[in-house]
Every structure is written in C-alpha cells, then in structure tokens.
Amino acid sequence: MAILRKDLIRELRTREMLISMILFVLLAMVIFHYAFTVKEGADLTYFTGGMLWVTFIFAMLLGLNRSFAQEKDERCLDGLLLCPVDRVTIFLAKTAGNLIFLLIIQVVAVPVFTLFFVERSYAGDLLPFLVVLLLADVGICALGTLLATISMNTRSRDLLLPIIFLPLIVPVLIAATGATTLIFAEGAGFGGLLARVLFLLGFDAVFIVAAYGTYDFAIGE
C-alpha cells in the first residue's frame, strides 16, 4: 500500500508523465483522423475499437518506460528491495499504480474519442464497455509492469520493452478491439460480448498468476 501511495504521490506532484500521456493520446486521435479519412466521408465506425486500443497500448509503453526509468535513475528500487517486503507485493503495487494512471488517461481520452469518432450513443452499453475497459487495462498493466521490470535492467532499456511487450499483448488487443468496436458500432450487451469478456478475464488471471511466480526473478538481484 505504501509503495502504491509513493508512486502515486510522486506522479501527482509532477504530473509530467500523465500530462504527456494524455496529450499523446489526444494527438494520436487527431493523427488517426487524418490518416484514415483520405477518402471523403470515410466511415471509420468499424475502426473505432482498434484506434482506441492502439492508442492506449502505445501510451502505456511510454508511461511504463518513463516511470521505470525514473525509478532506476533515482535508485528507488534498490531502496525498496532492502525493505522486508514481499517481492510480489511490489509487483501488485506497481501494477495498481500503472493501472490508475491508465484509468486517469482513459477518463479524459474516452469522452474525447467518442466526440471525435463515435456516432451512435452507447450509453445503454456503458456497463459492458467499462468492464471490457477495466479487464483489458488490467492485462496491459500486469504484463507491462512485469516486462518493464525486466527491460529496465537491460542494456537497451526502453527500446526493448515494445519488442517484448507487443507480441504478448496481441490477444488482449484482439479481444478488446473486437468488443469495443462492437459496442461503438452496433451496440452489444454482455450476451454478445461474453466470449471476449471471459477471454480477457482468463488472460488477466493467467498472467497475474504467471507474474506471481516469476516476479521474484524479474526483479531479483
């Protein structure tokens, strides 16, 4: 808990990272518009889920790189390891921290995205949407935290993270974009989304367990 608080407090004080990530996300949306509407009146309805999640994933890469690089530079991690804290707790705290950052960004980004790209109102499907959002976020943050811990300790540091992270996150991307696009384009309740929701749930469970087993090694010295 204390670790979580520490991370949050540090970030909320500077807000550097958060602001940069939010700006990145919003700018990406503008770029998507220009990238995809070469044809007059091109219909992007079925691209919406994809655009949204691609943006979030890349924003997360930026954020993970930043927060871990900072930690490494400030040698916080060494101090942390000296504490009699279970390594796995560090993992959970960091993941939770990253998750909160991602959620904050999404709170800003999703309404703007809706404004820019989504035509029909999905207020009726808001709950399923949020569930999908949360589940995908957890997967992204858990896997991202684990891998960032590893990549930060290597020579290539931030260059390595996308390479090891992106192939692994593809399933989440598939599920999340499918579900999100369905919601934005046609509207879907839990029934239609069941497969994807369960899949995301399963993914999260599997990888959190995997992280549980391996985080000791990822962070160990």
Partner: protein, 227 residues
C-alpha cells in the same frame, strides 16, 4: 540404446521416418477430395513441423522453469537451443504455410488463425533473442530469458485461441482450417512423418546443445588462460 540416441543415429532414424512418411503420403494416401486436391499433400510435413516447433517451445518452457529453480546453466543452454530450433521450425511453418496457401487459395497470405499465430510466435521468440542480447551478465541474462520463455509459451495457446475464436461476430471466419478427420491411410502417413520430425528435432537439439556446451567450455578455457 545410447547409440541409438546419439545425434547421428537420431538423424538417420529421422531420415528414415521422414522419407517413409513422404512416400506414404504420396503413394499410399489418397488425393484429398476437397478443393485443395494435390496441394493438400504439403500437410504431411507442414503439420508435423508446426507441432514439433511447439514441442520445442514447450521443452524450452520446462527448461526455463528448471533453470529458475536450480540456476544451473545447462537448463539455460537447453532453453536457448530449443527456442532457436523452435524459431527455425516456426519460420519453416510460415514458409510452407504460405506456399500451401498459394497453392490452395491462390493467395500468399491470409489472416487466418494458424498463419497469424505462427507469425506472432516468430515475433515472440525473436524478441527472446533480442532480450538475451541486451543483457551481458550471464546469470541475469539466463534468468530474464527464462522468465520470458515461460510467459511466451503461456501466450502461444492464448494467441491461437484469440485469433481463432474471437474475430467472429464482426465478420465470418475467412478460411476454415480444415481440421476434418483423417482417414486411415492419411493418418498413418501423418503419424510417421510426425515421428520423423520429432526425431529430427531430437537430433538437432543434441547437436546444438553440444555446440553450446562446447562454446561455453571454450569461453571458460580462454578465461583461464587470459585471466
């Protein structure tokens, strides 16, 4: 018995099985009744390579766990060798898969579950090597590689599942993956080729493992001399 398991012997055994499988596939098994016709015969090597690749990654997974438990370098070597071979086999799966695709559907590429999964698998295990090359210290390199090998292998079936079952609902699955039952003669050819490929994998693992062990030994000796 040990003789039978040595690398050259395995290679010969593999060769026998593979040639047998080949002949059976062409002479004994019938031409496929579906639209694929003759090109279906690629299957007798394509599928075994795919399964052998996954087998290799599975061995790497087990080796990774063993390494994390024991910190013994031999597990790291086994993992490295298996990932390398698995990657090689996966590339072959992709190449033959594309050739088969061209023959059967007249398209070099299709975003269908198996090709896509193996594409991702290739990226994943190439990342394994990128990761390894980014860490200089042996112990840490082996540890990180092991963690990644574990995570990667878990992700493989998940990825396959995702590419196979999730895109439905938005658009129909483009190409059926033809998992229909095989009749007896096809099955026999397939199984023998499968055995052959597995033996070939074993032969290659032994050889490559020897290479890695010797490389480490050379490095050690050089260290002794230089240091």
């Amino acid at each position: 018995m040990k003789q039978l398991l040595s690398a050259p012997a395995l290679f010969v055994e593999a060769g026998i099985c593979l040639v047998a499988g080949l002949l059976l596939g062409f002479l004994y098994a019938p031409i496929d009744a579906s639209s694929m016709g003759f090109s279906q015969k690629i299957f007798y090597y394509h599928a075994p390579i795919a399964e052998t690749a996954l087998l290799a990654f599975g061995i790497a997974f087990v080796a990774a766990i063993a390494y994390l438990r024991t910190q013994d370098a031999k597990w790291d070597r086994l993992g490295l060798v298996c990932v390398r071979l698995g990657l090689l086999f996966s590339l072959l799966v992709m190449i033959t898969g594309m050739i088969w695709g061209k023959a059967a559907w007249d398209a070099w590429w299709a975003w269908e579950p198996r090709l896509t999964t193996f594409l991702l698998v290739c990226f994943l295990y190439i990342a394994y090597f990128v990761l390894r090359s980014a860490v200089e210290e042996e112990q840490r390199r082996a540890t990180y590689a092991a963690v990644f090998a574990i995570i990667a292998f878990i992700d493989v079936p998940i990825t396959f599942f995702a590419t196979r079952f999730l895109p439905e609902g938005l658009h129909p699955v483009v190409i059926g993956t033809g998992g229909s039952g095989m009749e007896g003669s096809m099955l026999v050819s397939f199984l023998i080729s499968m055995l052959g490929m597995t033996l070939l994998l074993a032969a290659l693992i032994r050889r490559d493992l020897a290479v890695e062990e010797l490389k480490d030994r050379v490095a050690d000796l050089k260290h002794t001399i230089g240091g």
